[in-house]
């Protein structure tokens, strides 16, 4: 007996819809086993992970806050992936946006600058993210360098840059030597939506980005170009669409959205620049993009779901002493299953007997 992967004659629509759900189901089964190995009660662990955060208003706000950068970044990434351009370095673009936007905040600190500060920070953050993303894109288009490697490597460069800045030139003199800038002025801070709450304007922006992504992909010629160039490169060339231009464009958009998410995170929930502003949003967003089937609405739902795992993970650490790294394990397993289930849309498993001569001989 032998297990083989066989191409399906027709692409299965049901599996296409069910695939993310199957992936989530398999992940939960795996997590159950993992919790048991860790010596934790899996039922209560899963309860803490997935149900408790939904039960109180504070956690719900927190989910939206965490989902904001995830969704923004993932929308940009989905454009790249649809166009067959593999931007893995959104984390770096996120940090670059955070650093560049913070520059304005740091320089205007205490100068009594007006309300232009925050918009300028957002713009500069987006611009810096876009430019940073264009480095791997240009290397790809110009020299054929693998964008997967170059975009990933640039994450570590900006990570160190940020570290240097907050330990050196931008360090808060009153900060007891902690590696952080001073708390941003109110004009350099993203306003919250509810008095005393955590929900901030960035979440509204994320919804606008989702809507814009849906319109771009569904209604415009540019969105069509992006989809064709990924789905049928030769037909795209015949259609007159320039694959290289689209790589540059999707990387730029994706970098801009990541950078924007980065500066919003710093100027919003965090309030100052410091190392560790991102629990790996740029990487988790890759999972969000695929779990959401590279579809804007799907991404919105997937973003909320993964945000839930962040909050649930924190809860589990507090109440059950489950290490926070388990959340990362969870996300990794989820990506694995999402990709595996996706291949089931086009392929199926079949068990064949090892002798090829099943048909011969008298029955």
């Amino acid at each position: 007996m032998q297990l083989i992967l066989e191409k399906r004659a027709e692409r299965s629509k049901t599996v296409a819809l069910a695939s993310p759900l199957i992936a989530i189901g398999l992940t939960i089964v795996t997590m159950t086993i993992l919790f048991m190995v860790l010596g934790k009660n899996p039922i209560s662990a899963l309860y803490v992970y997935f149900i408790v955060p939904l039960a109180d208003g504070y956690s719900l706000q927190e989910i939206a806050v965490k989902a904001t950068p995830l969704v923004m970044i993932a929308i940009g990434l989905s454009l790249c992936y649809l166009a067959n351009a593999w931007n893995i370095g959104a984390e770096g673009q996120f940090l670059m946006g955070a650093v560049a936007g913070s520059w304005i905040a740091v320089k205007t600190q205490g100068t009594g600058a007006g309300h232009w500060v925050l918009p300028a920070m957002l713009l500069l953050g987006a611009l810096a993210g876009a430019l940073y993303a264009l480095i791997p894109a240009i290397c790809k288009v110009r020299f054929g360098a693998s964008e997967i490697l170059t975009s990933l490597m640039l994450v570590y460069v900006v990570d160190l840059l940020l570290d240097y800045l907050v330990r050196g030139p931008w360090r808060d003199p009153q900060g007891f030597n902690f590696p952080t800038t001073a708390e941003f002025d109110p004009v350099a801070t993203v306003p919250t939506l509810i008095e005393g709450g955590r929900l901030h304007l960035g979440s509204i922006l994320a919804l606008v980005v989702v809507a814009a992504g849906a319109v771009l992909l569904g209604k415009t010629i540019k969105g069509f170009e992006i989809r064709v160039v990924g789905a049928a490169p030769r037909a795209a060339r015949f259609g007159g669409f320039n694959a290289n231009q689209l790589i540059l464009l999707t990387f730029a958009i994706s970098g801009a959205l990541s950078g924007l998410a980065g500066i919003i995170e710093v100027a919003g929930p965090v309030g100052h620049l410091q190392p560790g502003i991102s629990p790996g949003y740029g990487f988790t967003a890759i999972i969000v993009a695929f779990l959401g089937r590279l579809n804007p609405i799907g991404i919105l739902i997937a973003g909320l779901f993964l945000a839930l795992t962040f909050i649930g993970g924190e809860q589990a650490q507090i109440t059950m002493k489950i290490p926070l790294d388990v959340t990362k394990v969870f996300q990794g397993i989820l990506l694995f299953y999402v990709l595996a289930c996706d291949s089931l849309i086009l392929y199926r498993f079949r068990i064949v007997s090892s002798s090829p001569q099943v048909a011969r001989g008298a029955h």
């Binding site: 066989e6 007159g240 008298a362």
Partner: protein, 523 residues
Amino acid sequence: MRDTTSAAPHTSATPLLQTVGLTKRYGSFLANDKIDLDVWPQQIHALLGENGAGKSTLVKAIYGLVQPSDGGLRWEGQTMVLSGPSQARARGIGMVFQHFSLFENLTVAENVALGLDGKESFKEMSARLQQVSRSYGLPLDPKREVWQLSVGERQRIEIVRALMQNPKFLILDEPTAVLTPQEADQLFVVLERLKSEGRAILYISHKLEEVRRLCDTATILRGGKKVSTCNPKAETAASLARMMVGTEIKQVKPAASREITVPRLVINDLNLEPEDPHGVHLRDISMELRGGEILGIAGVAGNGQDELFAALSGERLARDPGTIVIEGIAAGHLSISRRRKLGAAFVPEERLGHGTAPRMRLSENALLTGHAAGNMVQHGFVNTAATLNAVDRATETFDVRKAKRDPEAASLSGGNLQKFIVGREILRNPAVLVVSQPTWGVDAGAAAVIRQALLDLAAAGAAVLVTSQDLDELIEISDRIAVMFHGRLSASLPTAEASREKLGLLMGGSSLETKEQAHAADT
């Protein structure tokens, strides 16, 4: 059960393969409607029908690629359920697809190895490959890489790969569509031989003359239903066609007189080195095509036709703008969209993946070439109504048969997709149309419609450049014919003077000049 191992196959009293009320539904659309078919050992059985009649669907069901919605299969009298092609192969069913599935950068032997289920070592397999190919007179060098091979040789790989499984039943889906007449003749010898060995062959083709020559029985499908089973040798091509279509096929009639106007497409001394190492170098190509004219380009595939198409369409840019002139404007450096805006339209040879994005809807595929000019895009937004309208017009004018209004391109039958692509371009009213293999895999009736449309386009003043493997087609519609050989284009001959012999010589690479000079000296 009957003792099938000792009985000689041709004396068997049951058909080798039967489809019993076989039905395949796509949504509410019936691609196959209760089809009963018996194929006996030692029989070459033709499967005929218009584009979209359901031929490919039926054979895919027999090969386990499509699951029947109703009815089923019998193999040597026993009910057979297939959940995939490997099960069909295990029973002794082989299939050669119309579109090859070969890896260009692998060798012949490696390609064959990838398609076999057995467990023999690579060396044993290579040896057996050589032995099988030699014994059937289908010579193949196992060590050659596929990109070096002609279409005919590539098909040979597919056939040998199928034969190496020692099939009792072989399916061939339009095997001669891409072959030269000589290659087709070679194939027929092999098929006769397979038949004499007691195997059964199910043979799909739109070329009715070859069916009459080769096949013992013909089953005719129309609109998913079986309309009759007959002896093709007792029929004429016209009567077969009538059964397929249900009515008489219209004859193509050229307009009485066409006005030859200004040069619309000019090539000036085009030289272009190939983009990839497997391509052909275009050398010293010049020609002039005026409005109202149809120029045919003949030649064995792989002599630079693809490269010429890419250069004309703008998928490859020429360094010197003046080498290609469209509507009086130097266009060698212009993108394909700019050339479309100048009034040019293009139909490539490969319909899936080049002419269309297979997994996208027809309306999106209308947008693919329609976005440059016209009203499909307004301020960057797609006008969906306009793209759907383009689909409806092509559907109506060229009788494109499909399961719903706007399906994915890949779900159309081969011939119907071809009609859509040709229609999509012709309905844009181009001033210049460059078309490759316009009727590739298209049934006789639809081929006549497409050829008529090309003639009408020329009559309306457009310049039409047709590349085709089918000499009869070129002779039927062209005013002049030129031949491509090793990246060069011969001077064109008026069709009246372009005998098959002359064209054959040119296609083989000999030059006509000596003959022509002798001819001139005579007169």
